[in-house]
């Protein structure tokens, strides 16, 4: 059982370290696309972290949002960022 | 005489409203509705005169007029008419009436008249409020309102010079306001009240607080001294000369400088109590300062060629008579100071009206242009002459009465050096007024006037002519009939008796 705990710890430590490293790399790489993909990957690992924290509800929300929709949102934004168009001005 | 409480509490409000409401309505009026505006102005001025008369009668018979409203916790807004307030209110009500007439004539066809008369009315409202303030908070409220309503009048013409004058005016008055505020709040933390009471509210404080009290006194005097143009704080006054003549008249004779002087009287009498202030040892420095201002103003006036500037420095000098009278801590000197509040107002407003007439009718602004002007405008110069002589202190004009009481009062308290001040000041007054009179009456005109305008009925428009004539007459009357009941002198005595001698 001690072995099990050790493995479990190893899993948590690896996951935690990976999360921190991903966050760091995601925020400090100069390549925006890499940032975005790293962020998606970060979301995936976050979902695993929620799982480890016995929060399946949160894991599911994170899976749907962090890994799915946010990724699409970011990709879409990135695409438009690199293909600029003038937005319409309105109001005053 | 029995006055119902409801009446006695609404009368002060009515007095304030009689100029406030017309003022607010005038703001909303179109520029073209001259008649309505004039009618409103006169209506307000007349109704104020009427209310003042009513109040004079009441106060003379010991009636109390008071309105209270809780403004801050434990600090009400108090409007109260006592003898001292009425001295000031009467003066301002009368002069407002006359100045209104004068201003209607003076500003004919100039732009922004609605704005001008609106602020003009607010200015008078503030003056009335200052006069009736029943505590220091109320006083400050109206005192600041006075600042705000006179600023637009100072910069009314909108020229760069006017705006610079306005900036200077604001700089002085705002800083003064800060000093006043600080002093008032500090005082309140010591006493728990700011109400004006005969004998003051601070005399029973610990000796340990006396040092603080002295600082508070200095702060309050600093705040009030700005408007009263006490020596280091007078800088704004000559600059403010750029304002239209009725404004100058109002600033110098009635509203602003008098509010400052009146405030000094109030603080000395009803906050500190004159005897206590004397024991604090703050009165002698005030007397010295006032004396210095008197001499300094006169000397500066001597070297001005611009007529209004000369009159302005004369104001600096003359207003300090009031402070001096109070600072000497004697009933007789006090009468002199208080009565000068009225007398100086009457005389100085006459002078400014006349200066305005010269500028408006002939385009004359400088003394060196005044040669022979009396031949062209005898009535105006007659009024000017009466007022100048009064300023110098020639009997029987009102100014003599003031100086007489001041001199007597000084001797009574053993401050003989004041006589020297008075004498010196009078001599300087003579030095800067008599040459003007000489030029006007005895020298030949040097060709055409700078910008002459002709009027069918008289030497100038009647609206411009009548007010100075009346004020000159009043100044003369105040001197001649000084002992008649309700004369300024008698009323000043009443004030002194009630607030000074009665325990």
């Amino acid at each position: 059982m001690v072995g099990m705990t050790l493995v479990s710890w190893a899993f948590d430590i690896a996951l935690g370290a990976a999360l921190l490293w991903l966050a760091w790399r995601c925020l400090f790489t100069r390549n925006l696309f890499e940032s975005v993909v790293l962020f998606v990957a970060f979301g995936l690992l976050m979902a695993i972290a929620w799982m480890r924290l016995e929060a399946p509800d949160v894991a599911m929300a994170e899976a749907a949002i962090g890994a799915g929709l946010t990724g699409a949102l970011l990709m879409s934004a990135l695409a438009r960022l690199e293909r600029p168009r003038t937005g319409q001005e309105e109001g005053r | 005489m029995i006055i119902s409480p409801a009446f006695s509490s609404t009368l002060p409000l009515a007095l304030v409203a009689s100029s406030l409401l017309p003022g607010l309505i005038i703001f909303a009026l179109a520029e073209e509705s001259v008649r309505l505006r004039t009618a409103l102005n006169l209506l307000g001025a007349l109704s104020k005169l009427l209310l003042v008369a009513l109040m004079l009668w009441g106060v003379y018979h010991d009636a109390a007029f008071e309105t209270r409203f809780e403004l801050l916790p434990g600090l009400p807004l108090i409007l109260r008419a006592d003898a001292l307030s009425l001295l000031f209110i009467t003066l301002s009500a009368q002069l407002w009436f006359l100045t209104t007439i004068y201003a209607v004539g003076y500003l004919e066809e100039s732009p922004h008249r609605s704005r001008f008369f609106g602020f003009f009315s607010l200015c008078v409202t503030a003056t009335v409020g200052v006069a009736m303030a029943g505590n220091l908070l109320t006083f400050i409220l109206f005192y600041e309102m006075l600042t705000l309503s006179t600023y637009p009048l100072v910069v009314h013409r909108g020229t760069p010079v006017a705006r610079r004058a306005g900036e200077a005016y604001l700089l002085y008055t705002v800083l003064g306001g800060v000093l006043l505020l600080l002093g008032a709040v500090w005082l309140y933390t010591l006493t728990g009240t700011l109400e004006f009471r005969p004998q003051g509210i601070v005399s029973d404080l610990d000796v340990g607080d006396h040092k603080a009290l002295i600082i508070i006194f200095v702060l309050l005097m600093g705040g009030l001294g700005v408007k009263a143009a006490l020596l280091p704080l007078h800088g704004w006054l000559p600059k403010a000369m750029v304002a239209p003549a009725p404004v100058s008249a109002l600033l110098h004779a009635v509203a602003v400088v008098k509010a400052g002087a009146f405030g000094i009287v109030r603080v000395v009498y009803d906050i500190f109590g004159i005897q206590f202030a004397a024991t604090l040892g703050v009165m002698m420095p005030l007397a010295w300062l006032a004396s210095a201002t008197i001499i300094y103003g006169s000397v500066r006036a001597l070297f001005q060629d611009d007529l209004k500037r000369r009159l302005a420095y004369s104001t600096v000098s003359q207003v300090s008579y009031i402070a001096l009278g109070v600072a000497l801590v004697g009933p007789i000197a006090s009468v002199g100071g208080l009565v000068h509040l009225v007398h100086q107002g009457l005389m100085k407003i006459t002078l400014f009206f006349c200066a305005g007439n010269l500028a408006e009718t002939l385009g004359i602004h400088r003394i060196s242009e005044m040669n022979g002007v009396a031949r062209r405008m005898p009535w105006t110069m007659a009024a000017f002459t009466v007022a100048s002589l009064g300023m110098i202190g020639v009997p029987p004009v009102a100014g003599f009465i003031s100086k007489w009481y001041l001199g007597l009062g000084a001797m009574e308290v053993g401050a003989d050096w004041v006589l020297l001040v008075l004498a010196g000041s009078s001599a300087l007054n003579a030095l800067y007024f008599l040459p003007i009179l000489y030029r006007a009456w005895f020298l030949e005109p040097e060709g055409d006037w700078p910008q002459e305008r002709h009027y069918p009925r008289a030497e100038t428009s009647l609206a411009l002519l009548i007010p100075p004539v009346i004020t000159a007459s009043l100044a003369l009357a105040a001197g001649l009939l000084a002992s008649v009941p309700f004369s300024p002198q008698e009323w000043a005595k009443l004030v002194v008796v009630r607030e000074f001698l009665d325990p």
């Binding site: 479990s8 710890w9 948590d12 430590i13 935690g16 999360l19 921190l20 966050a23 760091w24 995601c26 925020l27 400090f28 925006l32 940032s35 975005v36 962020f39 970060f42 976050m46 972290a49 929620w50 480890r52 924290l53 016995e54 929060a55 509800d57 949160v58 929300a61 994170e62 949002i65 962090g66 929709l69 946010t70 949102l73 970011l74 934004a77 990135l78 438009r80 960022l81 600029p84 168009r85 003038t86 937005g87 | -």
Partner: protein
């Protein structure tokens, strides 16, 4: 030290990594991502500490779900805004302060 505490520390770490990036990076996209990562850090703290001796407290889970919805809404808006800024100024940074 428990795993919960480990994750709480990771959450703190994420919060500060995000904060540092928010302060240092110029481009708006990493800054928006930084806020999201900071948010994740906070959520992790909230959920990690919910693992108590006697079971899991569901209230923070509900809070975090609410927080995630709020975060995604804000992110969507921020991305929109970033695009408009980029189109209007020609660069997706805030170096051009527009304070003139």
């Amino acid at each position: 030290m428990t795993p919960a505490q480990l994750y709480a520390l990771v959450g703190i770490g994420l919060f500060f990594v995000g904060l540092y990036a928010l302060g240092v990076r110029q481009h708006l996209l990493p800054r928006i991502l930084a806020l999201n990562i900071m948010g994740s850090g906070v959520f992790v703290v909230l959920v990690a500490l919910a693992r108590r001796s006697d079971g899991v407290d569901p209230v923070p889970h509900a809070m975090v779900i609410t927080g995630i919805v709020v975060a995604v809404s804000a992110t969507a808006l921020a991305l929109r805004l970033m695009l408009r800024v980029a189109h209007a100024t020609g660069s997706a940074t805030l170096t051009d302060t527009g304070d003139e």
